[in-house]
């Protein structure tokens, strides 16, 4: 037991590694604040373009979405970070992560929002248009607010996945939470920082996991 505490929850190591973890934590937050809006924004554009119902455009959009849903995000990141320099495009780890994860998450957000928009009956479009709203205003004031509510659990779930996704940035040496924990582990010769990082993720995301379970259950109750 002593040995377990000594290795995994060593108070002294916790004190030394805390500054590293705090710095990593803020980097993780920064990454999320960049990647989530980028992903939602591009996803929204993808979903909105689908409503135009142009056949060739739809084919392109489906190819884009399925392509980036088929690539593991880590493969995408490695490709962007280690592959693009051969084309003369050298991105900082931060930009590489932002680009790779934007491509990946936007396709998921796009699919979710598209499903949400398709849930809204045609009558809503027609009614809104007949009051004189143009296409964009119809989308913005009538369709989207209802669509987002209908797929809110999926949006929350995907956002949770995006936050977890940022841990992959450690692979390209971006100093986010996991990377800083590894560095602290190397300095202290003790894995306590890793356990601590896991704890931070857990405390950060647990409320959302709980919320999600509740939302899923409520959705089923209302559907049945």
């Amino acid at each position: 037991m002593d040995r377990l505490i000594e290795s995994f929850l060593n108070p002294e190591v916790m004190r030394t590694s805390a500054p590293y973890l705090v710095r990593g934590f803020w980097m993780t937050v920064k990454l999320c604040l960049l990647v989530i809006p980028l992903g939602v924004g591009l996803g929204l554009v993808l979903a909105a373009l689908r409503t135009l119902q142009r056949r060739w455009l739809n084919v392109l959009l489906i190819v884009y979405v399925d392509l980036f849903r088929a690539f593991p995000p880590l493969v995408l990141l490695v490709f962007v970070y280690y592959g693009l320099p051969y084309m003369g495009i050298v991105l900082s780890p931060f930009l590489a992560v932002a680009l790779a994860f934007m491509l990946n998450t936007s396709s998921y957000y796009g699919e979710i929002l598209r499903a949400g928009i398709e849930n809204i009956p045609q009558g809503q479009w027609q009614a809104a248009r007949s009051t004189g709203l143009n296409r964009i205003d119809t989308m913005r004031f009538v369709i989207l607010p209802q669509a987002i509510r209908s797929v809110l659990p999926d949006l929350v779930s995907n956002t949770l996945e995006v936050v977890k996704l940022t841990s992959l940035a450690s692979v390209v040496a971006l100093p986010e939470l996991l990377r800083m924990a590894r560095i602290a582990q190397g300095i202290t010769f003790n894995p306590t920082p890793l356990v601590l990082a896991a704890g931070v993720y857990f405390l950060l995301l647990w409320p959302f996991v709980r919320l999600l379970s509740k939302m899923e259950r409520r959705r089923i109750v209302t559907a049945t």
Binding site: L194, L205, V209, R217
Partner: protein, 220 residues
């Protein structure tokens, strides 16, 4: 650009390595999906028995493995456990960690689906003399599966893709093979080949998941 991304010489040279990587990726995915789903279903069954203390543990396990990123779990198992003399190979580490993550998600999916089945179905099954397990197996689960199948498919695909994380603990799957080949050849073609390999495995599955989703849609 063609020379650095589609260099046929380099591609021909690394093709065997990528193909052996594909078998590792496919094998690991199948192992993880099988053990993760079975364990998840077992947990959901256990939870349906409604023992308070047991359920508390299950909920905690599920929440923890849904909240902590898979890569972090992988790192803890691979780099922290050796300090207490538990040394697992990269492959076993990846199998264990990804299975536990998938099991957590599957438990949640199975459990929510079981809850969605009307209570009357349980009572009717039990009143015909079915035991608890037989009611679950022959009456409740078949109905729950309709709701569970689309999210299960998506989760299975997602966990299959996350076998790429195993490259970090030196499992010689596609990405790992491609990265080392890329460093050796100073050429991005192995990465292109890896991307094609992943597409060959996962694109059909993603397309299939679209079909499953529309086939089992809740609102019909």
């Amino acid at each position: 650009m063609i020379d650095s991304f589609f260099n046929l010489d380099v591609m021909a040279r690394v093709l065997p390595a990528i193909i052996s990587g594909m078998w590792v990726t496919i094998g690991l995915s199948i192992l993880v999906i099988t053990s993760g789903t079975v364990f998840g279903l077992a947990l959901a069954t256990l939870r349906a028995l409604q023992y308070k203390v047991v359920n508390l543990f299950i909920v905690f396990f599920v929440d923890a493995f849904r909240a902590i990123p898979a890569l972090v779990i992988l790192m803890v198992v691979f780099f922290a456990l050796p300090y207490v003399d538990v040394q697992l190979s990269g492959f076993v580490t990846a199998w264990l960690c990804l299975s536990l993550v998938l099991a957590a998600f599957c438990e949640e999916i199975f459990w929510t689906s079981i809850l969605s089945v009307d209570k009357g179905q349980w009572e009717a099954a039990r009143s015909t003399g079915f035991s608890f397990l037989r009611s679950l197996r022959y009456v409740v689960l078949p109905q729950a599966m309709r709701l569970a199948l689309p999210p299960l498919t998506n989760r299975a695909i997602a966990i299959g893709k996350s076998t790429a994380l195993a490259s970090v603990v030196a499992v010689p799957e596609i990405l790992n093979q491609a990265s080392s080949a890329q460093a050796q050849a100073a050429n991005a073609s192995p990465l292109t080949l890896a991307a094609i390999a992943y597409l060959a495995i996962f694109l059909p599955l993603v397309v299939m998941s679209r079909w499953v989703e529309s086939r089992f849609a809740w609102r019909q």
